[in-house]
């Protein structure tokens, strides 16, 4: 059973389409990586899942369901019940995600109490368990610590503890390591993957770190300017990218620039609200763009498990099909 199914999800802010008709699914036990640069709409799409898009944003979709239940038409109270328990999310900057006025213990227990209830003692025990689980030493004393007393890595562990506290079926991690030191990043990712395997959660990992996704994700979707341009198994997408944008992303990695004086990058910038091209969104920048590309919006091509939104997807040699 698919945990999460999106079909043609769009999020608009007035005239601006932050997310433009994207569709994907997440299955139990699966790690889905979502990559893209800033402004690609990757975070917004997951915020809309959690119901965190406020006015003036509008969310619309053909289907937006979690475990076969339609999230859009669900009554608010029911949706609030799922949020934070069956679907959990952790954010990018752990230092600002915890309320500075309350202790760590208070905030963990609060989450547990909201969804599970229990006596003070039970809750406290569970909180300590969770802190242990995420690898925080001396958890009893940490309960009474305030967020500002914790380091970045510690804070993120606490966030993860809160997120998994209610045994979520789906965990969304929005750039979980971006704000952390490199050495800590690896630890946090290891923790996440361990927990994911242990609990067989679906994990949506949103990041702009391609190497990370390549390492841990089962499947990956690449987003550009609010659209999904390519999707498929991670190994395939990264070894033989079919979309020029994915190719460009891989080419711009420092690893690929061995020996060169400059990093490779596509000229131009991501289209914003006012300069959306008529045809393919990448066409102003794509080295292989034709007039056809510029005028006609490309369809999704290829089988469901390996889609690409391009008129001339690249072949195994990295050149556009004729």
């Amino acid at each position: 059973m698919s945990l999460l199914k999106l079909e043609n999800l769009s999020v608009t802010f007035g005239q601006f389409r932050a997310v433009d008709q994207i569709s994907y699914t997440v299955n139990e036990g699966e790690v889905l990586g979502i990559v893209g640069e800033s402004g690609s709409g990757k975070s917004v799409s997951s915020l809309s899942l959690m119901g965190l898009i406020d006015y003036p944003g509008k969310v619309s979709a053909d289907e937006l369901s979690f475990m076969e239940q339609d999230l859009l038409s669900m009554p608010e109270t029911q949706r609030r019940k799922i949020t934070g328990s069956d679907i959990a999310m952790i954010f990018q900057d752990p230092m600002t995600s915890l309320n500075p006025c309350y202790t760590v213990g208070y905030q963990i227990i609060e989450a547990l109490k909201t969804h599970q209830g229990g006596t003070k003692k039970e809750l406290k025990t569970r909180a300590i368990e969770l802190l242990n689980l995420v690898g925080i030493p001396a958890p009893e004393s940490r309960l009474s610590a305030y967020p500002h007393q914790l380091s970045g890595g510690m804070s993120q562990r606490v966030m993860i503890a809160i997120a998994i506290g209610c045994n979520p079926k789906l965990l969304i991690a929005d750039e979980p390591t971006t704000a952390l030191d490199v050495t800590i990043q690896a630890q946090i990712i290891d923790l996440l993957i361990d927990l994911q395997k242990q609990k067989q959660m679906g994990l949506v990992l949103i990041t702009h770190d391609l190497a990370l996704v390549a390492e841990v994700a089962h499947r990956v979707i690449v987003m550009y300017a609010g659209q999904i341009v390519e999707s498929g198994p991670a190994s395939e997408v990264f070894s033989t990218p079919k979309h020029p944008y994915t190719q460009a992303l891989l080419a711009s990695l420092p690893e690929s620039a061995a020996g060169k004086a400059r990093l490779e990058a596509l000229p131009g910038v991501v289209p914003g609200q006012y300069d959306r091209p008529k045809g393919c969104l990448l066409s102003p920048r794509c080295p292989y763009a034709t007039d056809h590309c510029r005028n006609v919006v490309p369809d999704n091509q290829g089988p469901l498990e390996r889609q690409v939104k391009c008129h001339t997807p690249l072949d195994t040699m990295g050149r556009p099909a004729a």
Binding site: M50, G51, L52, R80, K81, I82, T83, G84, S85, A88, M89, F91, D93, T96, S97, L98, N99, P100, C101, Y102, T103, E110, A111, T114, H115, Y146, H148, Q149, L150, S151, M159, I162
Partner: protein
């Protein structure tokens, strides 16, 4: 905490010394107290004799020295008009002013917090706009107009409330004359405290609203929504505590304005508190009372500022506990 309070005490002493010194130096400019005590036909000679008796002819520094000497023993002078030690006179009027201020603050809290929070959560609601309009009015209308206005409608036109004074008081522990425990006293308290509240509430509504709107945009609030926590809890537990931090600071500063406004309110409602006492003392050039009042107000400022700091540090753990760095 102890060292903090200790330092504050020292600061207080310093502040009081300066206040007393200044109030002494401006004595000359306040007028002639002897004139206020005697009839018009009393001769210049006799007035001068009185001045001599009161020690008003000695050089300022000597008078100040005398004052300090007595102050250390707890004697801040004797009021020319009340003929009692100034400390006793002020202490007897303190309950009235404190109760008035307290009542006003309660009203401010009861009004400003719900209205400010509501206006922050539903900024486009017509009620919120009305609240903002009302707060603009409150900021621009002087307190004596508010007071007279309230008096006109509630006392004169509709005859619902009394127009002046404190009414009956009940004695609490034999020390404190309180108007809070009987109906008459509360009726008399309503209009003056409402006037005061009317003038102070707007700034707090606006402040709470602005702060709250800001706080509601922050990451930890977004995260709280993501945790599935109920809306009331998010507004009143998560957001409000953070909102109150700058409000407490501003509130502390506003306490100073409260003292000024109480003087006006008391004068209009003939409320027998410290403010009215001070106004009368100025008119009568009751110099010892004026000096003591100024010192008293200085003490009040220092105490309230200290309290505010203490409260602030209790609410904001980042101040109290050193962070990770």
């Amino acid at each position: 905490m102890l060292s903090f309070i200790g330092r504050r005490l020292l600061q207080a002493m310093f502040v009081l010394l300066i206040i007393s010194f200044v109030s002494f130096m401006i004595q000359d400019k306040m007028g002639d107290p002897v004139r206020q005590m005697v009839g018009l036909s009393v001769t210049l000679e006799q007035r001068e004799a009185l001045q001599q008796e009161l020690g008003l002819n000695d050089p300022m520094l000597i008078q100040y020295g005398r004052f300090l000497g007595r102050a250390i023993q707890g004697d801040l002078g004797t009021s020319y008009y009340y003929k009692e030690p100034t400390i006793d006179v002020i202490a007897s009027r303190l309950p009235a002013t404190l109760e008035l201020s307290f009542a006003a603050l309660v009203l401010v809290v009861l009004l400003a917090i719900p209205l400010g929070v509501f206006a922050a959560i539903h900024p486009k609601n017509i009620l919120s706009r009305a609240v903002l309009l009302f707060s603009t009015l409150g900021l621009s209308v002087p307190i004596f107009i508010v007071a007279v206005f309230l008096m006109y409608f509630f006392a004169i036109e509709w005859g619902l409330l009394p127009s002046f004074g404190r009414g009956e008081t009940t004695s609490v522990f034999g020390l404190w004359q309180s108007g809070l425990f009987n109906r008459d006293g509360l009726q008399h308290l309503l209009l003056p405290s409402l006037s005061l509240a009317f003038v102070l509430t707007p700034i707090f509504i606006r402040l709470i609203r602005a702060e709250m709107m800001d706080v509601l945009q922050s990451d930890y609030i977004r995260y709280a929504w993501a945790k599935g926590i109920s809306a009331p809890r998010i507004y009143f537990i998560h957001a409000l505590k953070n909102t109150m931090l700058p409000v407490i600071t501003v509130g502390g500063i506003q306490l100073g304005t409260l003292v000024a406004y109480t003087i006006l309110t008391e004068s209009i409602f003939q409320w027998p508190g410290m403010g009215l006492l001070f106004m009368d003392a100025v008119t009568r050039v009751d110099v010892p009372l004026i000096s003591t009042y100024l010192i008293f107000v200085g003490v009040i400022f220092v105490v309230t500022n200290t309290l505010v700091d203490v409260v602030y540090s209790l609410v904001n753990p980042r101040v109290r506990i050193p962070g990770y760095s």
